[in-house]
Symmetry: C2
Subunit: 217 residues, 2 copies
DNA sequence: GAGTCTTTATGATCCGGGTCATAAGCTGTT
DNA sequence: AACAGCTTATGACCCGGATCATAAAGACTC
């Protein structure tokens, strides 16, 4: 999972390249651009939030582990996207941990500077709200799925969601789903075996196609 | 469920009486206070968001129904709390519907006025962010539970969560859980029968107590 | 206080997806 | 080329919670 060749299938979430906060502003508010390696922990569940984070390069996964070691992925963040703001603004401990999925660069800005930046830039502040709201939308969607739908429905929903973020014309094109079976399992609360079996079944029923082992939809 | 005597057990979420936006500000930005009856639909899933809402009196439930008619409760909002902002700010259709649980009063403010209010009042804007972030925290928590924990763990988590919102000294006091078995089921993605059986089992094991049929923890 | 509706309760049955074991296919590394 | 470590695959088995049926207890209405 850690070294999944996600990026080669397509420049993931290209529209997200647009940064939540532009580089120039980040710099003028004391953010620093830190190099990170692969599989590097950015912050851990339970710790206090002290900084604003924004991916410049690479990808970051937020996740929780239950006592049996099973993982649930709370979100994956691509270049341009910010993460970890809720505990910062809501003033509560991190509910999950963050780890890099690839080497890259991450902006970090102290809380005080971040708040000042928001105060000075209404447009950025509104952009941040939009980001938070979309994240709530994602969570509501997944929650609805996990609470009452079967594996096939869950997989279709998440596949369609990511397709809509990726494709220029989601209704026409077909795209290759940039996740392994394990990643899909971690995002939908299913087990790998269930994802594997369900994908197979859906292929037989013509609900999706396989290219090698890659899922196309 | 609709006429559960929630309010008589204690003034629910008393600290929440503090309004997200104070009445005076609401009025000066063209909000109007509408009277609502019990079981009144405020907005429906799929519709476009045009207004800001804030409970003045009564309670509002946000929920989704799956095709089999099973409900999942996305949130319950008490006096002083706002709701339905994510689709308004994130610019997407309502992912769930909202219904009143009791008769009461609700502030409604047109989107344009709401945005102007935020622009003019940085403190309110930050307060809103805090509300959105706490809501994300709640959803992350429930998502983690529903994705990988058993009924007992799910119930304990949600009971503790509400207790922490209600109790002055959560570690010392015991409070009566202000929800029916059905409501707990709808919030945790379980079935009524499972909640009933699990609660019974937990009482036998001394993990909670029952007063009549009311859960005390 | 009769009647209706909601809530709690309990037993019987079923089955979808988790668990476990095992293996083959790929990918990247040295 | 060989090896390690993911990733995909498949079968066998099992079990927890959903489903279904039925009923008693409370709560609210007139």
């Amino acid at each position: 999972m850690r070294n999944s060749p996600v990026i080669q299938y397509f420049p993931i979430f290209p529209e997200k390249r647009k940064r939540v906060i532009p580089a120039s502003l980040l710099q003028s508010y004391n953010a620093r651009l830190a190099k990170v390696g692969k599989d590097q922990i950015i912050f851990e569940e339970g710790r206090k939030a002290l900084e604003y984070f924004q991916v410049e390069e690479g990808k970051v996964k937020m996740f929780v582990l239950n006592p049996e070691g099973q993982e649930f992925t709370q979100g994956i963040f691509a270049p341009g996207e910010s993460f970890g703001e809720p505990p910062l603004l809501g003033d509560f401990p991190y509910p999950s941990s963050a780890i890099t999925l690839e080497a890259g660069k991450i902006w970090r800005m102290p809380k005080a500077d971040f708040l000042q930046l928001l105060r000075d830039n209404f447009d950025i502040h509104m952009k941040l709200d939009q980001v938070l709201c979309r994240r709530l939308q994602y969570k509501s969607m997944i929650l609805t799925e996990v609470s009452s739908y079967d594996p096939e429905h869950r997989l279709l929903t998440i596949i369609k969601y990511f397709k809509s973020k990726i494709a220029k014309h989601p209704s026409k094109e077909k795209v290759i789903v940039p996740f392994t079976r394990q990643q899909l399992a971690d995002m939908t609360g299913l087990r790998v075996e269930t994802v594997i079996r369900t994908v197979k079944k859906m292929e037989k029923e013509g609900k999706l196609t396989l290219e090698g082992h890659k899922i196309k939809y």
